[in-house]
Point group: C2
DNA sequence: CTGAAAGCGCTAACAG
DNA sequence: CTGTTAGCGCTTTCAG
């Protein structure tokens, strides 16, 4: 019998129609040159008439090589992973792969399940952005099963997988330097109280830079639990007692909280307090003031990660490399230089009240 | 020979190990009851020892039924589609399907390609969120090929596919009513000048509601081209000449522009001008004032769409239904009732200057 | 209850 | 250059 595949022509239909064997059809379709031109014609004609298209899964099955790359990310709701995935999609396609995208929903357990699913699917390789918890269960599992993979974002150097991530430390140090140079002597670091390597890196790098440079700066640290409102409350309490000259928000949503709290309290930004955010977002160019922020090199992360994965897929690599992609920095309006203190006209509506 | 599949046990390995046939292993694994308990034990033991897991793709191939559902969305960078996809993922999994996610990048051509790819993959069904252009090329192609699919967001009623989308008209009318009741007599509708059915629906529904209710209201309409800055410029020019009592931003990024332009001009919101936005975002609760907005029922859209798709996959439906999911409305701080005009303490810093 | 056989849609090896 | 044969890893009769 010839078909079971509801209403779709198989390679045999085409072979029949063209009066050749399935093998020949396969050759023509995969561009093998050793086919008589006349037959090529016939096959192509049959293909067109029957609207035939190779079933990539069946094809992969036979070739014992799936042209699928797994992508496991913590979530899809935030811009960051959306962009990352999007970029990966483009790269994968260009390299002849399809993506199997799945979200771990920040759950270790789910991450583990997804790793297994990718394995079941016999994906050629996997790109994993681990959940926040740093136990690296997914990576461990992948190692044990012998999957080929690259770790991305939120990862520490790992000697069994290549890792590529934003250079949090450097970016943070740069902000520290900028702030110090701009004459800020009292800065608040605002973050979330969750286990997250990158956040901790941002904090320690900032502090180290200040110490190292010998800059005179008081650095406060405020960490809150998950919900946005807790952070807002904590920040509000903090402001009741202290007035730094600048706030360095260590993550995207923190920046939001800072801005809104400023507005609620009629604190003028940047005249009263400057703000720098880690992680840029589209809305930051539309707030007033537009937010000066560290932008993570999402594109580069995707590209390096993919490149490395491909390399590993094609020729097994001996040892793992760890790539830190440099962040960039968008200067907008929310960070002011206390020394020059050039205020733009619109910002002069209220007098600048130097704190302290 | 027994394996080609690098380092993975196949069903035959398990069969050998357990001393039964592959058929029996298959039965055990799929829960067929007619297997002698002793054999079940043996198989399970072998499975565990060999770490065996079914290859779902090979399995699907044989069953001539792929447990994969295709999802084609315009992009992954925005919260909306991220959330939608995420929800779909959960639903699909619960129903025993995997998702094949792909983004059309707002390109008709790509959309078409992806439709074909989904077809090639022999997905059981497809959920398509069409690109902005309304020519419905993807849908047409799917119809022609005979794919089973559901259309989502940005779609008009379509007599060949089920469609589920937010009830833009109703939501917009409700906003119109609210604004009228709150005494707003001059409202600006702010949108993008792109072909987009939903945007147009929002506009016309607003106008119709005003006409129908006989409310006395001047309705301005301002549409700009793509880039955010063009919109900002257009809005700025508009404000140079006119001062409505409220702005209804027809899309998410518009709300951003409005807020920042207000701040730049020291226009107090909502005392001077109120704002309502179509499409909620997390940052809207953190701005000051927090933005009153229409929230799209993403979850419901995903659920209805998936439910419908499943129904169609399982038992072919005779005719297409079009489901409009009601939006909700978050009242926050950016919309003021001109009649009662109860201003909260913090908002009283500046006096309210009634325009006109 | 079980397993041999057939085969999903495709590709690879090799004899012609 | 081509077609036959032999599978990829699985499931499904169906005869025993």
């Amino acid at each position: 019998m010839v078909s079971n595949n509801v209403g779709r022509a198989s390679i045999h239909h085409v072979a029949n129609r063209a009066g050749v064997s399935a093998a020949t059809v396969s050759k023509v379709l995969r561009g093998v040159k050793t086919v008589k031109p006349a037959n090529v014609e016939k096959v192509l004609a049959a293909v067109k008439e029957l609207d035939y298209r190779i079933d990539p899964l069946a094809s992969d099955l036979r070739r014992a090589k799936r042209r699928i790359i797994g992508v496991i990310i913590p979530e899809l709701e935030s811009e960051f992973f959306g962009r990352l995935t999007s970029r990966l999609e483009t790269l994968a396609e260009a390299a002849g792969y399809s993506l199997a995208i799945a979200t771990s929903q920040e759950s270790e357990e789910r991450e583990l399940k997804l790793v297994e699913r990718m394995h079941d699917w016999r994906v050629a390789g996997t790109i994993l952005a681990p959940v926040r918890s740093e136990r690296g269960l997914g990576a461990t599992a992948m190692k044990k099963i012998g999957m080929t993979a690259v770790l991305v974002d939120r990862v520490v150097a790992n000697d069994t997988f290549d890792t590529v991530t934003a250079d949090n430390a450097n970016a943070s140090a740069q902000i520290a330097r900028k702030l110090a140079e701009a004459g800020h002597k009292h800065v608040l670091l605002l973050g979330l109280n969750e286990v997250s390597k990158s956040l901790r890196t941002r904090i320690s790098a900032f502090r180290e830079e200040i110490e190292k440079s010998g800059a005179e700066m008081k650095v406060d640290l405020l960490l809150a639990e998950g919900p946005l409102d807790d952070l807002r409350q904590a920040f509000s309490n903090y402001l009741d007692e202290t007035r730094p000259t600048a706030v360095f928000s260590l993550f995207q949503r923190g920046t939001l909280v800072v801005l809104s709290e400023f507005r609620r309290r009629a604190i003028q930004c940047p005249q009263d307090i400057s703000v720098v955010g880690f992680d840029d977002a589209e809305w930051m160019q539309a707030t007033y003031p537009a937010v000066t922020a560290v932008v993570q090199p999402i594109r580069q992360i995707a590209e390096r990660a993919f490149e490395r994965l491909l390399l590993r897929i094609e020729t097994p690599q001996s040892f793992a490399v760890c790539q830190l992609q440099p962040c960039t920095f968008v200067e907008r309006e929310s960070l002011v230089d206390l020394k020059t203190a050039v205020l733009r006209p619109e910002q002069n509506r209220r007098r600048h009240n130097p704190p302290g």
